[in-house]
Symmetry: C2
Subunit: 420 residues, 2 copies
Amino acid sequence: MERLPGFRDFYPEPLPQPDLWSADARNYIFDRWRSVARRYGFHEYDGPPLEPLELFTAKSGEEIVGQLYNFTDKGAREISLRPEMTPTLARMVAAHERNYKKPLKWFAIPQLFRYERQQKGRLREHFQLNADIIGETDSAADAELIALLIDILRSLNLSVEDFVIRLSSRNAWQGFFCQANGDRSREYEFYQAVDKLEREDPAVSEQKLASFGLSLAQVRTFIDEARPTAELQAILDNLEARDLRSFVKVDYGVIRGLAYYTGVVFEAFDRKGDFRAIAGGGRYDNLVSLISGGRVNLPALGFGMGDVVLLELLKARQRLPDFQSAIDAFCLIEDEALRSDSLTLIQDLRNAGLAVEYSLVPAKPDKQYKRAQELGAAFVCKLERTPSGTLMVNLKDLKTRQQSTVTPTEARLQLEARTV
Amino acid sequence: MERLPGFRDFYPEPLPQPDLWSADARNYIFDRWRSVARRYGFHEYDGPPLEPLELFTAKSGEEIVGQLYNFTDKGAREISLRPEMTPTLARMVAAHERNYKKPLKWFAIPQLFRYERQQKGRLREHFQLNADIIGETDSAADAELIALLIDILRSLNLSVEDFVIRLSSRNAWQGFFCQANGDRSREYEFYQAVDKLEREDPAVSEQKLASFGLSLAQVRTFIDEARPTAELQAILDNLEARDLRSFVKVDYGVIRGLAYYTGVVFEAFDRKGDFRAIAGGGRYDNLVSLISGGRVNLPALGFGMGDVVLLELLKARQRLPDFQSAIDAFCLIEDEALRSDSLTLIQDLRNAGLAVEYSLVPAKPDKQYKRAQELGAAFVCKLERTPSGTLMVNLKDLKTRQQSTVTPTEARLQLEARTV
């Protein structure tokens, strides 16, 4: 029986085939996302993977339904697997923001789903870090969020040579569009045309832009020559104080595809340009109000970072750690008469928080030793009974090959001290 | 806009209302599940939340469909949100077991779904730890798995006075049923009748059992008086060696509802009997073969532990920790001329792995100090410029109220040393 197309199984390391997805790599990425977000004072939340369909159409219009993993449930409800987290966040915030101090700094690691026409190797789900700041209009919040994004990528062993944050602003584009006497009712349509410039045939772009009374050259000149807005300059200065300025460049070529962005927008890219965006986000000051039917009005901004492009990049640049299993000790049981006492020792070590393995059933000594090595155990330990009847532990460091024979309590203390 | 009935939002602590679900409590439980499983040498895996419907009907028959969150997708596939993890595990193991050393010791923390007729407060999703050992017939594997279950509950501050593992065996019941000349084709039906004894009107049970030629008294006598089988005695002896014997009692009143169990079965209950089972599991030696169409034949056993009953129990017994946020330092910015230098300090502290908060925008000193206390910050720190122009840090321990004025580097070193 096969899994559904576009879905992933995650296997433990060491992977039996290189094309499988690694549960350890996934957890490594999740751990870094969590620990850096907490360092920045962000708090974790989560919502349901299923939501009413209208939660997503309210924000993005009916045309989004074609990309949703939506269906009718047994209670005749129109529902959808979540394609993004922001509407759920806006719903949750609108329901209970009164009793939280502002600004909220929240993050989540949802699995997201979409149902596009199937293409070979195209996934229908991915995991995505979502980090958001809600309730603060000052660009200091934008800088704090972008600093978080930079530090997360740094924590994954990516440096200023590896990635860049392209920083832009819908406000700057709005200024350009107004100056050019653009039709305000078609503003978002114009942003979508700009968003496609880098991926589209210039002749097609030229034609689209002509419908707004603009030439491709005009737009390109703006992208190449416009100065940072005051809000962008404030963000750059803030990041300069953190010594993070070199990770960012103002680049009006970025405008983001989603309708709801209202101010600063940004995307993280690998500098070599081998991959799609690693992360993207911006301000969406009107969304909480929209989702809450005008009941709650809070400015907000956030970014999303998916696990798939990130993992491709980390693999390509060889920045993933070695996922050797973290066994502290393997207990050899060579004399079956000592199995029961060995279980006592194993329990004692595990009670102390150590990761301990052993052979569940009788096995040849060399086979047990080989297994300890395969598991990457730091130590092997073996109970022995002295001629006087005392139980001692033979402890061997598999790296240094040093051996010693000590009491069970000493063995535990030594292992605890060495594996901190 | 409301979330779907039977689904949960998880909010950060401190909760604005006591009836909300806590993201911190959920993560606390997940962390304990993960850390104890790893201590026992278990490796994490995961599969898709959606699977082909037949993966679940193959094992449990068509009658399970009434309880599934199933639907037809846009590609006309019959699919279902996973109601349990074991079929996915069996599918994954069957696909790649050849290249893993046996026994496999694997765990996962999936979100599971069911669609029952809605009852007030009844959930349609929960999270569940699944821990399984695959490829070992010896009862030493059963003991290892039960020891893991016990140590997970102990790690959550539950003691031998709080919970008990009721240990039973389908083999013992099979012996009883055969001796009583039961119709082998109705064996599973008989187990289901036994499974309901504790929750059903005795008159109904009496009638059901009569159809097997058995009386309620006969069955009760077996439950009360039958001795442990050899396999159960081996497990008890093994747990005795680990000093975990007191957590377990042989209790043939447990038989488990699912069809696929083949040997030892067990459930964890709170001793006061206030809640449904905390966890349950057993051997399912034929399932991998069934799911793989006979291609792979591996003995297996496992248990599941849900987050909902567990959380109810931990709340009722007041065993949850205080989920005060783990902020190491709050940086006070009382002089806006020092904001930029303060950002440099904050970045330096965060780079060292410390969790640091501050006010994104200018705020009155007492308001900043109050916020630091609300966040449960361990320290407040404040940049000051000396008359000679040097930047120093005033560091205050919010618990001891001790203050000192040190260089920025000394401040970082002190904070690092105190928050290990």
